[in-house]
Symmetry: C2
Subunit: 648 residues, 2 copies
């Protein structure tokens, strides 16, 4: 059934079959859009022939749809979902009736933009410009796992205006991803009109400048399409080590004369009269009334669901404990952990391969040891974070465990939209970011990442941890290594003291086990409670120890698990003590303090709450000076605790 | 004093002066970095000659530094601040002593990355890849205001890996910004090593493919630099209508033999011994001890401050009222408003010119009327939102009022980092986004913008408004038109009914005045209060009207001003009624509900609070179905209000 790319050309039977099926699939595109009353017929029809050839020939079938070494097909211009559904149904991935019933209907998997709950779809798309990066991530994962599969990425020509595509191109060329094959539906139109009027540039030259092979072909000639794809698949290209892009010359709305070449039909349904005429033109049944009845009668047979029940096989290695008198940075503890797991799992073929991805900050994020231990698993992605973030997400969807590290500003804030799509794709990248908060110091406000807490809370599947010292960094990383979710771990830049217990031992030492969603008490006290996080914890301990000498009991709780949070702990402290403070190196309006207030509000608990955090952009200077500028020195905390408690 | 670009070449006196000053400026670079113990000497020295030529010749001087038609110089690789400060001090913008004292010191303007509080600096940079977009925005603003100035943008070569630069290139070429002149410090090194090893590609070909003139020059030859800049300024280029980039061949650390060509000195201070030798090599005083003493003795003479006290001159036009029985969408009210102000201010030369910027969604965001009214003030930026967001911000810094519109997902979520830098630059773009929330419907989860509230609350200077219907859309836009701040206005996609008073008149009609930070009651009631926002307000009114018939009083409050919020109103309702609900088409964890909980927490007020909002990613379907999926139908609100009130 699947044609493959072995033969030099399609047989005449195969050609006849594809050509013969096309009008039926074109009709299904129109039917789907008319059934829902909205959708994107234009691009579905201009890309249709390429979709038919690729799904007929690539090594992805209903039978191998879960095989790790299957070919991957990513359609980055995800709005051409009618074309994708029509083609996949034709190849047997599901029945077209399911799409008729479910297309653009609440609760179904057959969304307006494609989602991977649909069999055969590999990646949710809809935010343009990210698909090529996802393809690069899957190609990397395949290489690391020793597969020889191909990864095909379809894109629109309007989409080529997105900058991230240039980042993905350069990454793919740099790592010689010759098994990454892009194809662009050059129909010359976008929503607003002619692409060359809206944003003219030399598309082929852009790809060549970034090191790709460029092949042009007629996107409506199945024979030519096969030849072009095959040239790429068999590396019969100018540079066989380079990835290849196919520029496909197409016509929007191809095959339906009433909409051909009309950009209005980028995203608009045909009138019923138009549809009727079009179905006749295509030689297909005008059965829309029957299908509408079907849609009314049936409910969606493929309900949308989230699947995160995947096991990550990995030995998280032996914990390391940093001594009570040691002063180091959390980053170094991260670097040591990475090196540990690289070594601990090197000999286990069942373990998920760990890869490291950095953006020109390998030294700062302490990935040097990992790189040295496993150079072939380290990917320096350059100053191009959007691409790197998606590469990480997509790799994790293919049984590879990526640690993506850069500064917090670049890995979370700048890539928020990419992390969001990673989350919607139910992936599990580890985003371990450093240099967060005022603690980044002299790099100044552009680099002060003080806005990552709501970013993580916006992403329904994500988790967020902010370790208090190198020991907790180690424990958090090991405890979360095998959790299947996007894991954000945020830390500062500075060397900080090991947090200790009252009797001087490491607070997160040999007998400490980290659990997501559990906050732990580091100092006792019943006059006030401070929930402190990250580099503020040792400062809170300083304040508490000072206050204790003065007879004031400031309980210190480590709130390092910022998603999930510890609701029980908050409520217990509110009821036991009633005077609560939050203390964070983060925007005071949107961070830990807001989370605590939210819990109190949900439960209707009245407590005296004082939120201490960053209340305006910082300047450029030494971290302690910046904390003082914001009223965040330990003395400020001590004073605030006393004042709040006195208010009674 | 300023040389200008009129003469065919620099005079020998001028050349001698520049060449003679260079060692002194190079020494200042080293001194600054050594004084703070950190900073970026390598790129400062490779870019230094270009900085000297540009600040000597461009029409920007201490005398015209506030003139609207001055040339603009943007340094996108903002970490070369020592080079910028040394050069600007040399040109008389401030005394170098001020930089010695303030460099990388808390509270000072002389940050590690340049900030516009420093005289002569036009744009805060530090997040790489955004400077060219800022330059394009300033060039656009100058064109609209009728100036013939030039805009120069310096960049690093590692920075060329950022995708946004390709978006800015295409935009500049599309709009023929021949007065935009970029120069790239091609020193061949970035933090991690050789640029051509980390991410090899054909830089010149990339720029040419996007329509730019490319001139190569020796970046350490003042004569060649002048000739190259002059060729661009006088349009002696292949295509005089196109913008021009200068590729400057340079050496990192140039002039200091102990660090020349060593990528380690991208961001590292010299040892004292190295510094001493370097100053000797440069023929300059080894006065670092005296400068250290100066730094200890003096405080920063230029404290950092925020300046938002700027008046926007604009006639916001006459309000339009949509009738009680009209059903339209907020987008159309926005389109009408835009057309109104274009016409109302066309004849007033004192008014700020209004420009419109869209990203291939002109029709969806209803900018067609504005475009028709003032075609030369409408800029279609293509599918390239990162660039467009910065263009808008930078234009607003130059006395032009930009309305930037696209879907919420693209204008706020995808561009969050760009909006953040816009805010740090104290700009005033209007970001009017549509298709927010579940209300976007069939476009599905990738397009459901349910995470913009914390984005706005992270930005200290920004404001956020979410109108409840077309009338309030009109009132909000007119009330905020002359406010100098980043203004976010978020609305849905659907046609919605006009919200009415109990006696059937438009609730936001002729006698309604919108005030930021003021929430208004739309329905009375003392059994429970619902704070509703955007498309949930009319649904809340439906629930309230239904409950009233059943003898239950649900007070409905319109919370359209989401930043600033109305703290007094929240507290008043909490004290008067005690049973509070929030009702929003937004992530329930991070939106209106979290803001209300925060106020209750800060004030220690116990109230029964129930937050109704989006609690998981939506699917693709009709908005009402999606609301029902999330438990957000009016009936769900009614039931929740009754239950919560019953809890007593």
């Amino acid at each position: 059934m699947n044609y493959g790319f072995a033969a030099p050309s399609l047989t005449s039977d195969q050609l006849d079959a594809l050509t013969g099926q096309r009008p039926r699939l074109a009709a299904d595109v129109l039917r789907l859009v008319s059934l829902s009353g909205s959708g994107h017929p234009g691009g579905s029809l201009s890309t249709l022939d390429a979709l038919m050839v690729i799904y007929a020939c690539a090594a992805i079938t209903p039978e191998n749809v879960n095989a790790p070494d299957r070919d991957r097909v990513i359609i980055s211009h995800g709005h051409i979902s009618p074309g994708v559904y029509a083609t996949l149904a034709d190849r047997g991935f599901f029945g077209i009736d399911e799409a008729y019933v479910g297309f653009r209907r609440a609760g179904s998997v057959f969304g307006g933009h494609i989602e991977k709950e649909v069999p055969g779809v590999e990646w949710n798309t809809g935010n343009l410009g990210q698909g090529l990066s996802a393809g690069a991530g899957m190609a990397i994962a395949g290489r690391v796992r020793g597969f020889s599969h191909n990864v095909f990425v379809g894109m629109g020509d309007g989409e080529q205006q997105k900058g991230q595509i240039s980042e993905a191109r350069r990454f793919a060329a740099r790592f010689k991803l010759s098994n990454l094959i892009a194809f662009i539906d050059v129909n010359g139109l976008q929503i607003g009109g002619r692409t060359d009027a809206i944003m003219p540039f030399d598309l082929a030259a852009s790809w060549r400048a970034d090191g790709w092979n460029v092949i042009s072909a007629d996107g409506h000639d199945m024979k030519a399409l096969y030849a072009a794809f095959r040239a790429a698949v068999t590396r019969q290209t100018d540079n066989p080590e380079a990835p290849t892009v196919l520029l496909l010359d197409t016509v929007m709305g191809k095959g339906v004369s009433s909409i051909e070449g009309d950009h209005k039909y980028h995203g608009q349904a045909l009138t019923d009269a138009q549809l009727s005429a079009a179905l006749q033109e295509l030689g297909q049944d005008d059965n829309i009334d029957a299908l509408r009845a079907l849609r009314r009668e049936r409910t969606c047979s493929r309900p949308h669901h989230i699947d995160r029940d995947r096991a990550i096989v990995l030995d998280p290695g032996k914990p390391r404990t940093y001594g009570a008198n040691e002063t180091t940075d959390c980053r170094s503890a991260y670097g040591n952990f990475l090196e540990d797991i690289a070594k601990a799992n090197a000999a286990n073929p069942a373990a998920w391969p760990v890869i490291g991805i950095s953006c020109d900050l390998e030294g700062s994020v302490k990935m040097g040891g990992f790189r040295k231990a496993t150079p072939e698993r380290f990917f320096e992605a350059g100053i191009a974070e959007h691409n790197a973030a998606v590469v990480a997400g997509a790799a994790s969807a293919c049984g590879v465990l990526p640690y993506f590290s850069t500064f917090g500003m670049f890995g979370i804030i700048e890539c928020y939209n990419q992390q969001r799509l990673n989350d919607q794709n139910e992936t599990a990248p580890r985003v371990v970011v450093t240099h967060c908060g005022m603690d980044v110091g002299e790099d100044g406000p552009t680099h002060q990442c003080i806005d990552y807490v709501p970013a993580a809370h916006n992403l329904f599947g994500a988790e967020l941890y902010v370790p208090a010292d190198p020991n907790e960094t180690d424990r958090i990383l090991r405890a979360t290594a095998t959790r299947y979710a996007p894991i954000f771990v945020a830390m500062g830049r500075s060397k900080i003291p090991t947090v200790t217990t009252l009797d001087g031992k490491p607070a997160f030492g040999d007998d400490f086990t980290f659990e997501p969603g559990v906050w732990t008490q580091v100092r006792p006290g019943d006059d006030a409670v401070v929930f402190a996080v990250g580099p503020m914890l040792y400062r809170a301990v300083q304040a508490s120890d000072q206050l204790r000498e003065q007879g004031f009991g400031l309980r210190v709780v480590n709130a390092s698990s910022l998603k999930p949070i510890d609701r029980d702990c908050i409520l217990r402290c509110a009821r036991e003590v009633g005077t609560l403070l939050t203390y964070e190196d983060h925007n005071v309006h949107t961070g830990l303090g807001a989370l605590v207030a939210g819990v109190l509000g949900d439960e209707g608990v009245a407590a005296r709450l004082r939120r201490l955090g960053v209340s305006r952009y910082g300047t450029s200077g030494a971290p302690d000076d910046l904390f003082a500028e914001q009223g965040l020195a330990p003395e400020n905390l001590a004073q605030a605790a006393r004042e709040l408690a006195a208010r009674g």
